[in-house]
C-alpha cells in the first residue's frame, strides 16, 4: 500500500493542479485580508468562499484524477496485490495532497493574518471537508465508468450539499414551524458535512447571536469541546462511510 501511496503522491506532485490549487487559495486568502480593513470581515468572507470551494475542488479533482489514473490502476490490479491496498494508497495520496494544499494555501495564512480559535476552526473544517469530498469523489469515480458522467455527478452532489440541502432544511423549518422541531434542527444540519463545518465556524465568530433565542441550544451543543468532538466525529463518519462503500465497490469492480 505504501508503495502505491508513494508513487501516486509523486505523480500528484508532478501534476500542476495541486500546486495551482495551493496558489489559488493563497491568492484568495491574502487578497481578502489585504482588501478588507477589518480582519473579522475578511475571515467571514473567506469562510464562505472556502466552505464552498474546498468541497467542490476536492470532489472534482478526486474524480478527474482517478479517471486519468485508470490505466495505472488497471496495471496495478493485475499484479498480485490486494485491491483494497491499491485504492487505499491512491485515496490516501489524494487526501494528503489536497489537504496539504488546503492547509498551506488557506490554513496557514489564516492563522498568520487572523490568529485565534475561529481561524483554527476554519482550517480544521477545511481539512475535514477535503477528506470527506475526496472520499465522495473516489466513490463516484469507482461507481461510474464514464468520466463525463462522474464529473457531472460530482457537481450535482456538491450542489446538493452546498445549496439544495439548506433550502430543503429551510423548507422543513417553514413547513413544520407550528411543531416543536427545534431539537431536530441540529441533527438534521449535521447530516450535511458543509453545514457542519459552517456551524463550527459560526460558533466561533457569531457567538453573540448564538447566545440568543434558540442559538443557545446550538451553543450548548457545539460550543464546548464535547460539541467540537461530536462535530468532528460526524465529519469522520462522512469520511468513513463513502470510503467503505468505495472500497467495497472497488473490490468487486470489473475493469
Amino acid at each position: 500500500m505504501w508503495k502505491v501511496y508513494k508513487y501516486t503522491l509523486i505523480d500528484l506532485a508532478r501534476n500542476k493542479f495541486v500546486g495551482g490549487w495551493l496558489l489559488l487559495l493563497l491568492a484568495i486568502t491574502a487578497g481578502l485580508f489585504q482588501l478588507e480593513d477589518q480582519p473579522v470581515k475578511a475571515m467571514l468572507s473567506l469562510s464562505q468562499v472556502l466552505l464552498a470551494l474546498v468541497p467542490l475542488v476536492s470532489c472534482i479533482f478526486a474524480i478527474v484524477y482517478l479517471y486519468d489514473a485508470l490505466e495505472f490502476t488497471e496495471l496495478l490490479a493485475v499484479q498480485p496485490l490486494h485491491r483494497s491496498k491499491i485504492l487505499g494508497g491512491q485515496l490516501l495520496a489524494l487526501s494528503t495532497a489536497l489537504a496539504l494544499g488546503a492547509l498551506l494555501g488557506a490554513g496557514l495564512p489564516l492563522l498568520i493574518f487572523f490568529p485565534g480559535g475561529a481561524s483554527l476552526t476554519l482550517a480544521l473544517a477545511c481539512f475535514m471537508l477535503t477528506l470527506v469530498f475526496t472520499a465522495i469523489g473516489a466513490l463516484i469515480a469507482i461507481k461510474n465508468r464514464e468520466k463525463a458522467r462522474g464529473v457531472g455527478l460530482g457537481l450535482v452532489i456538491w450542489f446538493l450539499f452546498v445549496l439544495v440541502y439548506d433550502a430543503v432544511l429551510l423548507w422543513i423549518m417553514f413547513a413544520f414551524s407550528d411543531y416543536p422541531i427545534e431539537p431536530w434542527i441540529v441533527p438534521l444540519a449535521a447530516l450535511d458535512p458543509i453545514d457542519l463545518g459552517r456551524i463550527m465556524v459560526l460558533l466561533k465568530v457569531d457567538l453573540a447571536a448564538m447566545m440568543g433565542y434558540s442559538g443557545a441550544i446550538y451553543e450548548k451543543f457545539f460550543g464546548n469541546l464535547r460539541g467540537i468532538l461530536v462535530a468532528m466525529a460526524a465529519l469522520a463518519a462522512w469520511v468513513a462511510v463513502p470510503s467503505a462503500v468505495a472500497f467495497k465497490a472497488f473490490r468487486k469492480k470489473d475493469f
Partner: protein, 422 residues
C-alpha cells in the same frame, strides 16, 4: 468662593462666630482606643452639624441610626458591621455626609429592603468613597432630594442566587441625584431607579450583576454619560420614561436569550448619542418608543445590532456605525415610521461616483434572512450559508418581502469616526 461685596463683612462676622461661639461644630473621634468607642454612642451624643471621625477598626454594632445632620468620616476604611440585624446605617436626616467607611452585614429581607446605607426622606445626603461589601441592598434611597453618591465601591456576593440579592444603588422617588464614578458588581440590578427625576449618572461601572446593569422606570429628565455596563445578566433596561439623555456609555458583552445591551420600552424623547455597543446578543431593542435620536453610536460584533419593533415611531438613526454584527436590523413588522439616514454599514456594497462620501444607491439594512429568522429563531443555524447570502442578494436587488421604505438613502462609505472613536 467669591462673595458679592456687600456680603463680605457679614461672612467675616459669621466666620468668627462659628469659630468661637457655642455654635461651633465639634469633632468627635471614635476609635477602638478612644473613650467614646462606640459609633452609635457618638452619634447619640453629637449635636447637629458635628463631625465624627471614625478611626481604623471594626465596629460591629448592628443598625446605627443617624437622625441629625452629621458628617461621618472614616480614617483607614473602618469596617462597620451590621451583624445581620437589618440595615447598617439608616439616615433619616438631611445634610448627612458619610465618607470612607467599609460597610457590611445587612440582613436579607425583601419585606424591609435592608441596605448597607439606607436614606429615608432626607435631602442633600452625600455618600462618597465608601466600600459596601456583600450587602443585600447596598445603597437605598427613598424620597431623597439632591443626594450625591460618588466614588463608592459596591461589591456583592457572586455566589448568591438572584432571590437573595438586591440592587447595588437603589433610588425610589428621588430627585436631583448625582451618581458619579461608582463601581457596582455582583448585585441584582447595578443601579435601579423608580420615579427618579432630574438626575445625573456619570462614569459608573456596573459589572456582572445578574439582572440589569442599569434599570430605570418612570424616571424622567435624567442623563447618563460615560458609564460602562458589562457582563450583566440582562444588560440595561429603560422603561416608561421621558426625556432621557444617554451619551458616551459602553454596553459590552451582555449575552443571553433575553439580554440586551439596552432595552427601550415605552420611552419618549430620548437622545442616545456616541455610545458603544460591543459583543451583545441584542445591542438595542426598541419597543414602543417615540422620538428617539440615535446618532454617532457604534454597533460592533453584536448578534442583533438593532431590533426595532413596528410600534416605534419617529426613531431616527443617523451617523451610527454598524460593523461585524450578525444582523444589523430585525423587526417584527413594518417599522416605516422610523428613519435610517447617513449611517455606516459594513455590509453596504454600493458605490460613490460623485465622491461626496455617501453611497449613490440606498442600503436596505433589513435582510430577508433577518426576517425569516425573526419568525423562526432556530433558522440562525443557516446564517452565513450560501443559501441565505443568495436570498439576501436577490432581495436587495428586487425587494419584495422586506419593507420598501426601510432604507438608508445616504449610507456612509466610511465609518463616521474612523475605525473607533471611543
Amino acid at each position: 468662593m467669591r462673595l458679592a461685596r456687600p456680603l463680605r463683612p457679614l461672612a467675616a462676622l459669621l466666620a468668627v462666630a462659628w469659630a468661637t461661639g457655642p455654635l461651633a461644630a465639634k469633632t468627635w473621634t471614635v476609635g477602638p482606643a478612644a473613650p467614646n468607642g462606640k459609633l452609635a454612642a457618638a452619634v447619640a451624643s453629637a449635636a447637629p452639624k458635628d463631625t465624627i471621625r471614625v478611626l481604623q477598626g471594626t465596629y460591629a454594632e448592628g443598625t446605627v441610626r443617624i437622625n441629625k445632620p452629621l458628617t461621618i468620616l472614616g480614617t483607614g476604611m473602618p469596617l462597620i458591621d451590621g451583624r445581620g440585624e437589618g440595615d447598617v446605617l439608616e439616615i433619616t436626616a438631611s445634610d448627612v455626609t458619610i465618607r470612607g467607611l467599609r460597610i457590611t452585614g445587612t440582613k436579607i429581607s425583601n419585606i424591609n429592603d435592608n441596605a448597607g446605607i439606607k436614606v429615608i426622606a432626607a435631602d442633600r445626603v452625600q455618600l462618597t468613597g465608601n466600600q459596601l461589601l456583600r450587602c443585600f441592598f447596598a445603597i437605598h434611597l427613598s424620597k431623597a432630594r439632591n443626594p450625591l453618591i460618588e466614588g463608592n465601591t459596591i461589591t456583592g456576593d457572586p455566589a448568591l442566587p438572584e432571590s437573595q440579592r438586591a440592587n447595588g444603588v437603589h433610588l425610589w422617588q428621588c430627585t436631583g441625584a448625582s451618581i458619579i464614578n461608582n463601581t457596582i458588581t455582583d448585585h441584582r440590578d447595578g443601579i435601579y431607579f423608580e420615579f427618579v427625576t432630574d438626575s445625573h449618572i456619570n462614569g459608573n461601572t456596573s459589572l456582572r450583576n445578574n439582572r440589569y446593569g442599569l434599570h430605570f422606570m418612570f424616571s424622567n429628565r435624567d442623563s447618563y454619560a460615560h458609564n460602562l455596563f458589562q457582563h450583566n445578566g440582562a444588560g440595561v433596561a429603560v422603561m416608561y420614561s421621558k426625556e432621557v439623555d444617554m451619551r458616551h456609555n459602553s454596553f459590552i458583552s451582555n449575552r443571553g436569550a433575553s439580554a440586551y445591551g439596552i432595552l427601550f420600552k415605552e420611552i419618549n424623547d430620548v437622545t442616545i448619542d456616541s455610545n458603544r455597543f460591543t459583543d451583545n446578543t441584542t445591542a438595542m431593542l426598541v419597543d414602543g418608543c417615540n422620538r428617539m435620536e440615535a446618532k454617532g453610536n457604534e454597533f460592533r460584533s453584536n448578534g442583533w445590532a438593532v431590533r426595532l419593533f413596528s410600534n416605534a415611531t419617529a426613531c431616527n438613526f443617523s451617523a451610527n456605525t454598524f460593523a461585524g454584527n450578525t444582523f444589523d436590523l430585525a423587526t417584527n413588522g413594518n417599522p416605516v415610521y422610523n428613519t435610517f439616514n447617513g449611517n455606516y454599514w459594513d455590509r453596504y456594497q454600493g458605490y460613490d461616483l460623485d465622491r461626496n462620501g455617501t453611497g449613490d444607491v440606498p442600503f436596505r439594512p433589513l435582510s430577508l434572512f433577518a426576517m425569516v429568522n425573526e419568525r423562526m429563531p432556530y433558522a440562525v443555524v443557516l446564517s452565513r450559508s450560501l443559501l441565505t447570502s443568495l436570498m439576501d442578494q436577490a432581495e436587495r436587488l428586487i425587494p419584495s418581502m422586506t419593507p420598501e421604505g426601510l432604507a438608508d438613502d445616504k449610507p456612509l462609505m466610511r465609518p463616521p469616526h474612523g475605525k473607533s472613536h471611543l
